[in-house]
């Protein structure tokens, strides 16, 4: 089951008939989002701004990851490598040379990096390109294998990147990490700007002929190849597109938390993203986005259960860690009752929402 199946309003009108209306609805949705962000920025405290930024970053990471795992069906476990690459590249490009000199105490930073100082926008694009290039290189090894083997190879490469970050003292500052990465005051707009662009590009991609080809590879690789699809290059396309977006998101993550070290980019980061895309529905971009928001904010809302409370006159002391127990139970419930995730393999669409709403309303 998925939300789409629970609230199934029957056959929807064909997409091309409502394209204009859907465009305006999407535009209004974006404006509503902008209003919300402005509200958070003006009214809520720094904590909420931080959480909203984090949610936006997770949204990009999860929906990019979903392109490889959900749409193309390649069980990759490498996103922590992409995020790490993007975070390091962006940080090294945007930190002031003096700040870098303060960081690299064991071994000086290698030459061109030690003097470069770029504006964030440019640094992010470079981070995306570098990460995509890394993914391109990795792709030649990764896509020689399939299924479980692909998972193992990507898991290994993810670890390799972390180990490299730990040991390339002259570039990454090793286990000491980078501190004092410039913190942006308008981080909210950067992250959500990227989130909107990424979601737009990814949903468009998933719906296009290229997206169909990727889904065909997921369904039956051999048949797809016999239908004239160059399977290797299409997998590579998904992998590098994902890496580009995750590299940029990784850069913004570094700007948000201002301190990075290799221990931040372990397998657990990948694992969190995996949970998000499974809960959202493997293969659904909007599902991944929705799940990213639910899980980032949900984890915070669940803090309530760790506080001391009185139930029916019984006072219960706060139990640290209780939130993870509840979270796990919720995940299990989700997997039992919505086995295909929130949205299954289908995308959110205005046609669906309007059909559901109109069915609930009074009938003429």
């Amino acid at each position: 089951m998925s939300l789409r199946e629970i609230f199934s309003p029957g056959p929807l009108p064909p997409a091309h008939l409502t394209r204009r209306r859907d465009f305006w609805l999407s535009l209004m949705g974006i404006m509503l989002l902008a209003g919300l962000l402005m509200g958070v920025e003006r009214l809520a405290g720094g904590y909420w701004v931080h959480m909203t930024c984090l949610a936006g970053i997770y949204l990009v990471l999860a929906s990019g990851y979903n392109l490889v795992n959900g749409v193309t069906g390649q069980f990759s476990l490498a996103p922590n490598a992409f995020v790490a690459c993007g975070a390091y590249v962006t940080s090294l490009l945007t930190m002031a040379p003096a700040e870098k000199a303060l960081n690299f105490i064991l071994e000086p930073l290698v030459w061109p990096l030690s003097v470069i100082h770029l504006p964030l926008g440019l640094a992010l694009v470079i981070a995306g390109l570098v990460t995509a290039l890394m993914a391109f290189g990795m792709g030649f090894t990764v896509f020689r294998v399939r299924g479980d083997y692909l998972a193992i190879v990507t898991l290994g490469l993810g670890e390799v990147i972390r180990v490299v970050a730990n040991n390339a003292q002259g570039v990454t500052n090793g286990p000491l990490g980078l501190k004092g990465i410039p913190h942006l005051t308008n981080n909210l707009w950067w992250t959500w700007g990227l989130a909107v662009v990424a979601l737009f590009v990814l949903t468009r991609l998933a719906k296009s002929s290229y997206g169909l080809a990727l889904k065909a590879i997921r369904e039956d690789e051999g048949a797809a190849e016999s239908m004239g699809i160059n399977v290797f290059w299409h997998k590579m396309l998904a992998f590098t597109t994902d890496a580009f977006l995750e590299g940029m998101a990784g850069g913004l993550l570094a700007q948000l938390i201002t301190t990075i070290s290799p221990s931040l980019f372990t397998f657990f980061l990948t694992f969190n993203l995996l949970i998000i895309i499974v809960v959202g529905g493997l293969g659904s971009m909007t599902g991944a986005a929705l799940a990213a928001l639910l899980i980032t904010f949900g984890g915070e809302w669940l803090r309530v259960v760790e506080e001391p409370m009185s139930l029916l006159g019984l006072s219960v002391p706060g139990i640290p860690g209780m939130r993870m127990v509840i979270f796990s139970l919720l995940l299990m419930a989700c997997m039992i009752f919505m086995r295909r995730g929130l949205l299954g393999k289908s995308e959110f669409s205005w046609r669906w929402l309007l059909a559901v709403l109109s069915r609930r309303g009074p009938r003429p």
């Binding site: 296009s208 002929s209 889904k215 048949a223 016999s226 004239g228």
Partner: protein, 266 residues
Amino acid sequence: MSREILRVAGLTCRFGGLMAVDGLDLTLRAGDLAGLIGPNGAGKTTVFNLLTGRVGATEGAVSFQGQAVLGLKSHQINRLGMGRTFQNIRLFGELSVLSNVLVGFHGRLEASFLSAIFRLPAYRREERRVLARAAELLELVGLQDLARERAGSLAYGQQRLLEIARALATGPSLLLLDEPAAGMNPQETANLAGLVRRLRDDMGLTVLLIEHDMRFVMSLCEHITVLDYGKVIARGTPEEVRGDPAVIQAYLGAGLELGQGEAVHA
């Protein structure tokens, strides 16, 4: 005499100690409607897999439209104009019927990745053209009313028809059909025979098909090659093949062991 479209010479495929295909020679001319038959395990599907690059040949040569294709990848061979269906249906089950056909067009898509994402005019023009063509193909095989259904939810016979439509979408000049009538009822089989004939007569395709339904093969194909244990044991018109003692022996076993062999579906 029309021009030669496919020439197979000495094609051999060995899986360990098993000779799956043993020195196959086969020539098809443009517009041929040919059949490849033989008992189970004779190597018919392996021939298709060799031709389409899914399995590597041990020896031999295959020239398609004058170009050597052994060693090319499946998708390259497909783009040269060789389309196929699969014996064990291999549709993209989770995708809609229409999407399955659209995937067939993707290999020849000219619009770039970026123009597809930003829906530039070039992509939209191509999309409109492809959608119209896909609708035509679905109408041709009679699935136009099921375009938005999930491919995996179709009846068996309809899935076989969808496989043909998907293969046609790749723009083949030679169509390889692997047991297209398997699992179909007599009415569906008759319709299929009509469809295959139309593909050849109206669309000018060359068709090579594997089939166990002898009535279907004998009534449809003009030229039949019979394989047994990877070797050609007979070839010729349906009448010639039907009376060939080697064919009867391959299907029914040697005279003395009659009844122990495999039944003929005719």
